[in-house]
């Protein structure tokens, strides 16, 4: 009973640690103030039609990216917040200048859906595994071993367990 409780506690802790790690992963964002220009340049698009991020557009004499970069530098120098800068760019060039959907209105759905689907699928899989789980049962001896004498069966099974191959041949 104590063993079962300890096992449950171990898995609970493992699940909590996993959930925390996943939450940290999903909630991260670049916040480096010193590389703000570089960061914001990689969250805006060049509008010349090259489909490249503003920070990566490498066309010499590109009619748009140089001007956009100057505008971005000016906005950062003026002390505008990220949101104000994005709003300004979106107002001037349209929503497609933002390299990712915003977190407002319908755009929010773009961010929610992947996590909702992942969560639902994870829950579904856990429930499925629990439903299919029938507890530890004795399995049938491997047919390959049936013809072997008892001593050899033990030895062969030991080797198979150690190499995890044999009857479970395959990946």
């Amino acid at each position: 009973m104590r063993s079962a409780s300890a096992r449950l506690s171990f898995w609970m802790k493992a699940a909590q640690a996993g959930a925390l790690a996943v939450a940290v992963c999903f909630s991260l964002g670049a916040t480096d103030a010193n590389s703000r220009f570089n960061d914001l340049g990689h969250r805006l698009m060049c509008t010349c039609g090259c489909a490249q991020l503003l920070g990566e557009c490498n066309h010499v004499g590109c009619p748009e990216s140089r001007r956009e970069r100057e505008e971005l530098k000016a906005a950062i120098a003026a002390g505008k917040s990220d949101k104000d800068i994005f709003d300004w760019f979106a107002a001037k060039y349209g929503a497609t200048v933002l390299a990712a959907p915003t977190t407002q209105g319908f755009d929010l759905l773009a961010w929610i859906a992947p996590f909702a689907v992942f969560g639902a699928a994870l829950l579904g899989t856990i429930l499925l595994v629990r439903r299919w789980s029938v507890g530890a049962t004795l399995s049938m001896p491997d047919p390959d071993l049936a013809s072997a004498d008892p001593d050899e069966r033990v030895r062969l099974e030991k080797i198979r367990r150690e190499t995890d191959s044999g009857s479970d041949r395959g990946f």
Partner: protein, 701 residues
């Protein structure tokens, strides 16, 4: 040649249609046990209808399918011939070639445009079908079903080629002396192999789809069909993998932005079937070993095939903005209708035959290899959904709120990267869990070494200067890179310890040294250990991808003898030169590269202007060593100052990505080789103890 090519396509369409109709009729008659009766002039006079064996009818259908390959080959030959003979009376040749185009690129003109690439698709599909029909004796009935379904897909593509996107359409008006030339982006050696390789993968998924649907239609007894399908899927998956990576390398070497993956919709379109195909290759083992997930596997293959069609639709219908997209055309409607029909057939067949899909769903433990496969499938499918969602969201947004949005790298980096890391974690955990059941003690024993490797890597990275935080805040890129390195170390240790454990047992039993024992171990279970080698390849690739978090770049106008420094290198401008040939004019910057004050080598980044199209193109200079790539782009000259503009990148660990691909290919090839013999067949040892129940139970004690 245009008339010959068009005629060959029509013949091919007729043959594919016959294969489809006669094959379907024959299979129906075989299923219902009825012979085919037809009145002929001879027997009509006798008053008795002739009897044609359905098997014979099916064989004529099969032969028609094989003949259609010959006809499509003739059409493809006609187009290639027309390119090489500069027949600009054909619009396609006029738009995608010119006289000065080098031979290899003339050949690649076959797939550089909409019509030609569809012809390549049809030809590859016909070639796959030819091989399938040629090997029909493996299982005559199953292959007849698969061949008939493939004929349906062939007929669709050939109908497009004949009526919607004819590659042999003639130019109206006076024929120009020279063509418009090939897109400069495509004039690169990898472009001669990347598209065919990708298409081999894309088209190849039609074959497992045909087998899966055929097996479902005929209520195929047992799991043998899945073994046949698995081999086809692995081959196809290998081609698709190579195609994707060749595309990445092409983007890296040609586009000049310093990266290899831009989350472009068409890149995404090729990645989605790869994900579902990978999920299938894992979950199919559950069906083979435990009789589980039959419906799931069938739907994974259906989905994979439909995703290849969706990818083709995205590229060709102008639904999304992409550097890969062909000109907008009406063939999008054809694809939508075809996908709808395929989906309807799949659903109808599944509903009709669902009783055949009863699975034995039993898991002995929550912590087992079976469970890990379920979670592996969950993560792969979630990743596929995320990419599909991101790709289609701009269309959805435009439809719902009337404004288009961009879903680019920042979205995928935030959503898909954590999912990828979770998948990497499962890659390490899966092999450590035995089938059926395990114990806490066994888990602890198996996980000790990988855990030590994982945490040791974290410590080494921190000591070496990696910082997952900056200015008091977490730095996402560095944090993900650190997690990726640590997980990679753990996974690599887990896999290598699996090899070591198995080889150690064989070594003890046979007296061979560890290397020979590892070789024997792999040969005796190629599928399992080939799979592990694939996982090692994936780990090496992940290490290479994680290096991107530490990319650096510097851009500068460089006059003669000017210097720029990046990492340990100093680049000195020592001049510029020009060259020209019949196809393009080029300018080179000559840069001496110094390290520790000593000249190491010279780099010559190039900029070309193609004469036929007038389009410019960069040719990046790359110096690759295991630690990093020194990547230099000659962006052209500043129009105001006349000085060359040089952009240099130092991209850590990029070479590991390509090295990882080689390991991955090697592992897949090993997995495709039949195993030598059962793992323990030769390990006869003297008996010592009597068997006990737990010993026979299997799994880890």
């Amino acid at each position: 040649m245009a008339a010959f090519g068009s005629f060959a396509l029509l013949i091919a369409l007729a043959l594919a249609a016959y294969n489809l109709l006669a094959g379907a009729l024959a299979l129906r008659l075989i299923a219902t046990g009825q012979p085919l009766t037809t009145p002929t002039s001879k027997n009509r006079s006798l008053g008795t209808p002739a009897r044609i064996s359905p098997e014979r009818l099916a064989d004529t259908a099969r032969r028609a399918g094989m003949a259609s390959f010959v006809a499509v080959t003739a059409a493809a030959f006609a187009l290639v011939w027309s390119v090489f003979s500069d027949d600009f009376s054909i619009t396609y040749i006029l738009e995608h070639s010119n006289r000065a185009l080098p031979g290899a690129y003339k050949f690649s003109a076959l797939w550089s445009g909409q019509e030609g690439s569809l012809l390549l698709w049809a030809w590859l599909l016909a070639a796959y079908g030819f091989v399938l029909r040629l090997t029909h004796k493996t299982d005559v009935k199953l292959y007849a079903y698969a061949g008939t379904i493939l004929a349906g897909i062939q007929a669709f593509f050939l109908a497009i080629l004949c009526f919607a996107a004819p590659p042999f359409a003639l130019f109206q008006g006076a024929v120009p002396d020279d063509g418009n030339g090939l897109n400069p982006l495509l004039q690169y050696p990898e472009m001669v192999i990347h598209p065919p390789m990708l298409y081999l993968g894309y088209v190849g998924f039609s074959v497992p789809f045909a087998f899966a649907l055929g097996a479902l239609m005929m209520r195929y007894p047992g799991e043998r069909w899945i073994k046949v399908t698995r081999v086809w899927t692995m081959v196809t998956w290998l081609f698709l993998t190579c195609g994707i990576f060749l595309g990445m390398h092409w983007a890296y070497a040609v586009l000049g932005w310093g990266g290899y993956w831009g989350w472009d919709p068409v890149e995404n379109a090729s990645f989605m079937p790869w994900l579902t195909g990978t999920a299938f290759l894992h979950s199919v083992m559950m069906q083979e070993k435990k009789g589980m997930m039959k419906s799931w596997n069938v739907w994974l293959i259906f989905t994979t095939f439909l995703l290849t069609m969706l990818g083709t639709l995205l590229t060709r219908a102008g639904l999304v903005s992409s550097v890969h997209a062909f000109a907008q055309s009406s063939i999008g409607t054809w694809f939508v209708v075809f996908m709808g029909m395929v989906l309807a057939v799949c659903i109808f067949t599944y509903i009709l035959q669902r009783s055949h899909m009863q699975s034995e769903h039993q898991l002995e433990s929550l912590v087992s290899r079976e469970s890990s496969f379920l979670f592996n499938n969950l993560v792969l499918l979630t990743a596929c959904f995320v990419i599909l969602w991101g790709t289609l969201f701009p269309i959805l947004s435009e439809y719902v709120v009337g404004s288009k949005v961009t879903v680019g790298a920042p979205f995928y980096n935030r959503v898909a990267v954590p999912i990828g890391l979770f998948l990497l974690f499962l890659t390490g955990v899966g092999p450590l869990l035995p089938w059926r059941a395990t114990s806490l003690r066994a888990i602890r024993r198996n996980f000790v070494l990988p855990s030590i490797a994982l945490w040791a890597t974290v410590i080494v990275c921190l000591v070496a200067g990696a910082r997952p935080w900056k200015d008091g805040a977490l730095d996402a890129g560095n944090f993900y890179a650190l997690v990726a390195f640590a997980l990679s170390a753990g996974v690599l240790t887990a896999i290598l310890s699996e090899f070591q454990r198995g080889a150690g047992v064989i070594s003890r039993q046979t007296g061979r040294n560890l290397l020979a024992a590892t070789w024997l171990l792999t040969r005796r279970n190629t599928r399992r250990y080939g799979g592990y080698i694939v996982h090692i390849g994936v780990v090496v690739i992940v290490i290479g991808l994680a290096g991107a978090a530490f990319n650096r770049n510097v851009e500068s106008e460089m006059a003669l003898h000017d210097k720029i420094s990046i990492g340990p290198y100093t680049l000195v401008e020592v001049g510029a030169t020009q060259d020209s040939n019949a196809n393009y004019n080029s300018e080179y910057a000559l840069l001496d590269v110094y390290k520790d004050g000593r000249k190491q080598f010279q780099m010559t980044p190039e900029k070309r202007v193609y004469l036929a199209s007038g389009q410019p193109q960069t040719m990046v200079a790359i110096h690759s060593v295991p630690e990093w790539d020194l990547y230099v782009v000659y962006e052209g000259t500043n129009p105001d100052t006349g000085q060359p503009i040089i952009k240099a990148f130092l991209n850590p660990l990029v070479g590991w990505i390509w090295a990882g691909l080689v390991v991955l290919v090697l592992g897949t090839l090993v997995a495709l080789v039949p195993a030598l013999s059962p793992a323990t067949a030769a390990l006869r040892v003297p008996a010592r103890t009597a068997p006990t129940e737990p010993a026979l139970k299997g799994g880890m004690a």
